[in-house]
Symmetry: C2
Subunit: 128 residues, 2 copies
């Protein structure tokens, strides 16, 4: 499992970890049933405290991305197709609602905003 932590990105470490695992699970890089490294193993590899990893893992479990098996490593949760779709869309909705408000506050026309958004969605390089 490839995880890259950038301590100077301004983003909290636990969130970087969370997002990378979530993305990899969503995109299929991590398949259902795949095991995640233990908190200690991963924290050692990344030079972090186990608690920081645990925080990310705990949130991933709450999101339903991962399944807890007491005494054993976490695994990517198997799920009926579209099972998580609802939660994903809900999270997406929150993000978009905030952005929509920004659009209004800036006094930008919805059309222009949509156009720009469509544009950005096409260009993956636009990451931070």
């Amino acid at each position: 499992m490839l995880i890259v932590i950038d301590r100077h990105s301004g983003q909290p470490v636990y969130r970087q970890l969370l997002e990378q695992v979530r993305y990899q699970a969503a995109s299929g890089i991590l398949a259902p049933g795949d095991e995640l490294p233990s908190t200690r193993a991963l924290s050692a590899r990344l030079g972090l405290n186990p608690m920081t990893v645990s925080k990310a893992y705990g949130l991933l479990e709450r999101e339903g991305v991962v399944e807890r098996r007491p005494g054993r490593a976490l695994v990517i949760k198997a799920r009926a197709a579209g099972d998580l779709e609802d939660e994903r869309l809900e999270e997406l909705r929150k993000a978009l609602a905030g952005t929509a408000q920004t659009v209004r506050q800036l006094g930008v026309s919805p059309e222009k905003a949509l156009e720009l958004f469509a544009d950005l969605l096409k260009r993956p390089e636009e990451s931070e």
Copy 2:
């Protein structure tokens, strides 16, 4: 001028102020030439420190929303149509780029994201 500050919203006060003035200027509620209350007057009315108001005013000036007249009150800046458009769009672009990244991380299809976004832009009630 109607400004409402919610200290429990989690949003910084100076930012609430900034956004409300910016929105009112963009939407025409505040017309070019309209004067803003002095930092002391507004801070007294809202129960804030003048510095907090000044912070918002300073940012508004940098954005070009407002014009400074030394010794006198700030005024909403007159401008050629679309004069501020560039900076606005730049700010919008930043917001949208972040959201676009979220879309990718969630593994949601661009089409669905756009659809949802268009939906949210139509409903003003979706504010906080």
